[in-house]
């Protein structure tokens, strides 16, 4: 019984390490774009990855990358207030909600309907945030 569990845990660690080796850089980039600060992005990503690791055998065919990205977006949304103050980065001039809309749509290439549904907000609001983000990025050149 414990031998079976040990084998399962080893498999979990092996598969998770392979996944992180492949997707870690891209996810870290997305997290850093969101938070503006590399250390803060890493903190957010480690939390999201830990949750994916814990649920590794309960993904039921879901892509771990999609799952981690989703968790990342949710954590970021929950901690909005924390990221209100600009912290540097390319998207420094955008408020958090606009930053999220832009990263999900442009960097991750997710359709608005999908990202809105995943975050439980109206599609219209996601679109407005995205359009505002684009307008803000175009308006003031640093």
């Amino acid at each position: 019984m414990s031998g079976h569990r040990e084998i399962q845990e080893r498999r979990r660690a092996r598969e998770f390490e392979a996944f992180t080796a492949g997707a870690g850089g891209r996810l870290l980039h997305a997290a850093t774009l969101l938070t503006g600060d590399p250390a803060e992005g890493e903190r957010l990503l480690v939390a999201a990855l830990a949750s994916t690791f814990a649920d590794w055998f309960r993904l039921h065919g879901e892509d771990p990358y999609v799952r981690t990205r989703q968790d990342l977006a949710e954590r970021f949304t929950r901690a909005h207030r924390r990221y209100r103050r600009p912290r540097g980065g390319v998207l420094d001039r955008l408020p958090p909600a606009e930053r999220l809309a832009l990263v999900l749509r442009v960097y991750e290439g997710i359709a608005e309907e999908q990202s809105a549904a995943q975050l439980g907000m109206p599609t219209e609001r996601m679109r407005t945030n995205y359009l505002r983000a684009v307008a803000l990025m175009r308006s003031r050149r640093p």
Binding site: A13, F16, E17, T20, A21, G24, G25, R26, L27, L28, H29, T32, L33, P38, E42, L45, V46, A47, L49, A50, S51, T52, F53, A54, V90, L102, V103, V106, Y107, M137
Partner: protein
């Protein structure tokens, strides 16, 4: 604009995530065990209570006096 090259992920990223994930699993297991114990305790308490109150009232031990006729 967003097409910067990826920053190199720190080599210990997976290790840190796994450490935190294992803690998450452990806490989840403890929580489930506590919930299970609480559930069992509630079932036992409900059973005991039901058993205690389910007896019909005992018949009287004394015969009531018969007066008159």
């Amino acid at each position: 604009m967003l097409d910067l090259s990826h920053p190199a992920a720190p080599p210990d990223l997976a290790e840190r995530a796994m450490a935190r994930g294992r803690r998450l699993i452990r806490l989840r297991r403890i929580r489930n065990a506590v919930l299970l114990v609480l559930l069992l305790a509630a079932l036992v308490a409900a059973g005991v209570t039901a058993a205690a109150y389910s007896h019909p009232p005992r018949p009287l031990q004394v015969t009531p006096p018969v007066n008159g006729v």
